[in-house]
Amino acid sequence: MRSEASVASIDDLAHTRVCECYQCGKCSAGCPVGEQMDILPHQLIRLVQLGCLEEAMSADSIWKCVSCLTCSTRCPKSVECAGVVDALREFSAKEDVVSKRERRTEIFQRVFLENIRRNGRLNEVELVIVFKTKGFLNDLNVPLLLKDATLAPRMLGRGKFHLVGEKVKNREVVQRIFSRCEATA
């Protein structure tokens, strides 16, 4: 059953078996953002092993993860640790238990995906505007709105962004792909 978070559905989504993890901690040792995490990667896996999925899905760490794949690459039992984090992210967003402190990251990913659905390719200006708007509305954080604003004119001058974005010709198929993938998940 893919629709609800469970040890089996997380295993399925991540193409791994969390029971194979023997908690050696090599993933946590090599994680570039490990020092910033409230729950370390190996602890996330432990929570899943124990079935404490709420705690895992509402952790800050899963949104701090930068998907560098160092954990999965070095794991001596070939557990797909990064895949488990992705699965937790997917379920966390679906079941709406995203940590309040990390909402901004989740908003960014969602806005990105919507952007692709609409345009087929990323429209950067649209991404920045929508993200900053939604981000601001989430936590009323003014610096977010202003951040990097000074970079914009320089970027324009270097031709690094286009006010009118590129669009894919066959956008309908992209929307159909999205609908189908959302339906089965």
Partner: protein
Amino acid sequence: MQVGYYPGCALHGSSNDYEMSVRACLSKLQIDVREIDDWICCGASAAHSLNQKLSVALPARTLGLAERDGLNDILAPCPMCSMELCKAGKALAEDPELRVEISDIVELEITGKSRVLNLIQVLQEFGVEKIQSLATRSLSEFKPACYYGCLLTRPPKVLKFDDCEQPESMEKILGLLGAVPVDWNFKTECCGAGMTLANEDTVLDLSHKIISDAIDHGANCLVVACPMCHVNLDMKQAAVKERFGVQRDMVVYYLSDLVGIAMGIDEKDLGVDRHYVVKD
């Protein structure tokens, strides 16, 4: 030599200096670059974070388009794109049920047999000695720290490219062209990738560590083969400097920049003047 070409959103967006660089460099090598018609985004981090199926389907669509266009080899200069395309291709090639399911979803028949190559692999296919013979000047003043980032070599079982702990492929190319690459500790440590907008603190912290270690090991510039890494190390270098301080400015070149420079291409034609940190 001909390759299919998948620029990806970054190269057609704010990293179009990378596209300039790649096109100028490959054109000098007389490698014919054929862009896949009507390609779509590979899904980047957003897809694999929020919808695993989408993270297979989106790159699969592009693979299908490439197969439809008769392109057996695809160059994807952005490692996020090349990794997602490779991963999708491998999953489809190995799982017939998945292949049927995804082909239905993306409305194209896909076999997953196309080869997806990153920029370094294309240069290797062309022949590093051949490049050396085309060089018109030595890169001897460059002491680069070659930065691979995460997704050029990981996951190793999917990409099977270079050594994921101590890669040497960029050093080999640049070394043959006269540069003096340094040995350093952060070759494959993450820079924060696409978190630039969402989580800038993480990016600045990681980028600072990378830049510092490169300087510590005697490098006078960085070389990357990834547009996200370039943004984090170049465009954000001013912010890194402001928050943590850096011992010196580090110009961040794309690999194609240095290869192009060695072959006598003007820096403007490579888009080097569009970088944020410029050589003084």
